[in-house]
Amino acid sequence: MDTTAHAAGGSLDTFPKYLLWNARRFADRPAMRHKDLGIWQSWSWREQLDEVRALAIGLQSFGVTHGDRVAVVGQNRPRLYWSICALQSLGAVPVPVYADAVAEEMAYVLDHAGVKVAIVQDQEQVDKLTAFAEKIPALEFMVYDEPRGLRGYDHAKLKDFAEVQEAGRAVMAADDGAAARWEDAVRAASGDDVSIMLYTSGTTGRSKGVMIRAAGAVKAASDTAAFDGLNETDSVLAYLPLAWVGDHYLNYAQAYVAGFCMNCPESAESVAEDLREIAPTFYFAPPRVFEGLLTRVTIRMEDAGRFKKALFGYFIAHARKYGEAILEGRPVPWSARALYGLGELLVYGPLKNVLGFSNIRVAYTAGEAIGEDLFSFFRSLGINLKQLYGQTEAFLYVTVQANGKVRADAVGPAAPDVDIRISDDGEVLFRSPGMFAGYYKEEEKTAETMTLDGYVKTGDAGFFDKDGQLKIIDRAKDVGRLEDGALFAPKYVENVLKFHPNIKEVVAFGHGRPFCAAFINIDLDAMGNWAERNGIAYSSYQELAQHPRVAEIIAGHVAETNQKLAAEPMMADAQIRRFLILHKELDADDGELTRTQKVRRSYIAERYEELIEALYDGSTEKYVETAVTFEDGRKGSIRATVKIHDAEFEGGAAVHAREAAE
């Protein structure tokens, strides 16, 4: 540890300290790559230090100093990542902002954060900020990475990135001590400084600036890097939004502490190809990305020749049976193992190669529930896909699954050094090393989010399962109780049911009611395909939805769902007793869904009150008229007699006794 102490000045509690150390210990190893002009351009840690230092001293010469907030706006590009580190080295606070935010939102964030300088990618961002310049009074100047189209602009408040670095290099050339003074300042910096300010995406109200302190951020990243054994030989494709905690943590923070290489894609459109070329060893994607990949693979295989299709089908079935066991090192008959080896050669290997997954050691997914089938498909190919649960306020990790202890329906035990507690009303609370220092300029909201003894409220309801893994069931405010006091988490029930491809949307009811009941929307594509294959004629959604054989199929799915729910003590009481298939598709035009396709529960409850009553009063059908808005804006109404079905469920009220408190 002598070298550590020497290079970084005692404790390694900021990322710039790691930069100094990495430039020494991994001097010529790659730190950054960027595909530019069709070639992967690389920078070693030593070169990265040069770039960051020149930029930092340049920014300093233009007046950036300790405590200043500086926005960083753009795609994943080396210069923007260097900006983050350069700002941290000066004790300034980088504030990454979503590049696709509309100008007004961006202006709000920049003004709220009181940014003095904005480092942006290109003309588009310069235009956005210029348009709202008077709303961001503190903004003194902008630095741009890509000069294209900006030649004719007034450069009074604009600087080229290269120009700032030139200024930095000029300072160093004129003053021999400048570089050394900068390094000394980096070594002397305090881990208590705010390392980064991440604005939450703001799905609920205005976005808030989450302040993360340097020492905490470094500690959290070191913990998880050690947990997954990440080191300088790893590599990642940095393609997640720069302003999202996931990108800053998984790519930036872990790269600095572990010393691995970040690869920036050529453009947002070329990510799939770049992924294939880089074949990273560490990968993160939300469930819908994996879903998209599986769909792509499935469609391609549908179009393949008969022989290939048969080969694929055979080996995928084999992988489904033994793949996960082999991945987890569980005992598997040698013959199955040998066949899996052959499959690796013929199918799994080439498939992973095409997806860019050949070298993956650790992959994570998070953000929403992932279907069992989808999850195990990728794991069965030998991809070590795991789940984590986290949020910006935790600087990402709250829970994480360890290698070999992975399940699709839970998110793992507490991450290293994280304390988790479930509050009396079922909310998940945590305390973690990377835990935020508060919301910027919002002491009240910070206080609301914290418990008196210093835990952070996640706003999510969850519980620990029998093997100690946390299960997130719903947003805490949506969780209700059945009439008899049993826990009722609508989203959890809905998600289990929605994993069936025939079901598009589910709305579950049960709060203050004797049992759980559900509205179901069938998936017109999937069920329509089924109808076609089975010679069932239909002319509209409404007609297909009311078909008795469709009801049979859906009843089967509901029964399966109930079995799954019954297997979980906490959820057993929330089995679906009665359900109906809605006579129309829930639609954002009718206000039933948000524009991002999320169910607006309370509005639906109001609008279909009669149907809800019918679910609970024992009737077998109900005539309704529903006002609808057509795509061209005309209003009309749909009349239908909706059938109400009783579902098969397990165990009745027997399991009821255990309640939420556990």
Partner: protein, 283 residues
């Protein structure tokens, strides 16, 4: 795993299109069309038209269908030989000229109906635009090694700059036949740029595009003009676009020039308004 570090000489180098340098100052006449007439048998496509294109400007040629706009471009790049009149390019007057000569002198163009090699990739299509700039003969190119390879790398770098400039990196290796129309148009522009033209002729660069594609294309045209100083003559039907992006406009109707001036002047010109509204003609 991590490959060894490659040197990265690219960062910081500014890309320019300057294969066809000349000493004509910006704002002076680059090309002059003098009293040109063109007819096909009895059909008079162009009648005694004169105008000029100044260095560094965006010059639009507009007019109703059949006004002779594309014929005019074909005369400029030597595809048609006018029966009467002269074309003076960079101070050298001529009447007849082969289009290969025009290309060698730095005039390149795109076409109303896309004329790309459908089975070839975006990259290869744009590489073909470099053909007039290749110095090594077929022998060296077939041999590939040595000077030809160095030259190939140089051309490839220029093409990569164009790909980057037009934001088509993600389709670099896609056969152009599989691309949507708007992107094909952009690839065609890329190929024309690859010749590093002094004068770029665009024949309806936005025909058949939706609004968003038109906005993109307008931005690229302005950027080419702004960044590389390339002189551009374009034919376009979308008046909004023409008024927004061009410096000067020449209006043709039934082969005759009926207007010439800045966008604001053209918009107020009665003869132009009549031509577009279809006032009867007397032949």
């Amino acid at each position: 795993m991590n490959a060894p570090i490659m040197p990265h000489p690219v960062a910081g180098t500014e890309f320019r299109l300057e294969a066809h340098q000349d000493d004509i100052p910006t704002g002076q006449t680059l090309l002059k069309v003098d009293n040109v007439s063109l007819s096909f048998g009895g059909v008079k496509a162009i009648r005694e038209v004169s105008f000029d294109i100044r260095k560094g400007e965006i010059r639009a040629i507009i007019g109703p269908n059949g006004a002779g706009k594309t014929s005019m471009l074909n005369v400029i790049n030597g595809f048609y030989t006018p029966q009467q009149g002269t074309i003076t390019y960079r101070g050298v007057p001529r009447r007849a000229m082969r289009s290969t000569q025009a290309a060698r002198q730095g005039i390149s163009r795109t076409f109303q109906n896309i004329a790309l090699f459908k089975g070839m990739s975006t990259l290869d299509n744009i590489m073909t635009g470099r053909i007039t700039l290749q110095k090594r003969n077929l022998f060296w190119q077939a041999l590939w090694h040595g000077p030809a390879q160095a030259e190939e790398i140089e051309h490839r770098l220029a093409v990569e700059h164009i790909i980057d400039f037009l934001e088509i990196a993600h389709i670099r290796k896609t056969p152009v036949g599989r691309l949507p129309y708007g992107l094909q148009k952009r690839v065609e522009l890329g190929r024309a740029l690859a010749a590093e033209p002094a004068l770029l002729l665009l024949d309806e660069p936005m025909a058949g595009m939706n609004l968003e594609e038109k906005e993109d294309m307008s931005r690229f045209i302005l950027d080419v003009n702004n960044q590389f100083g390339t002189t551009i003559a374009l034919i376009e039907h979308d008046m909004g676009v023409v008024m927004d992006i061009s410096d000067r406009i020449v209006v043709l109707d039934y082969g005759r020039k009926i207007g010439d001036g800045k966008p604001a002047e053209i918009a107020a010109d009665q003869a132009v308004i009549d031509a577009y509204l279809g006032v009867p003609h007397h032949d």
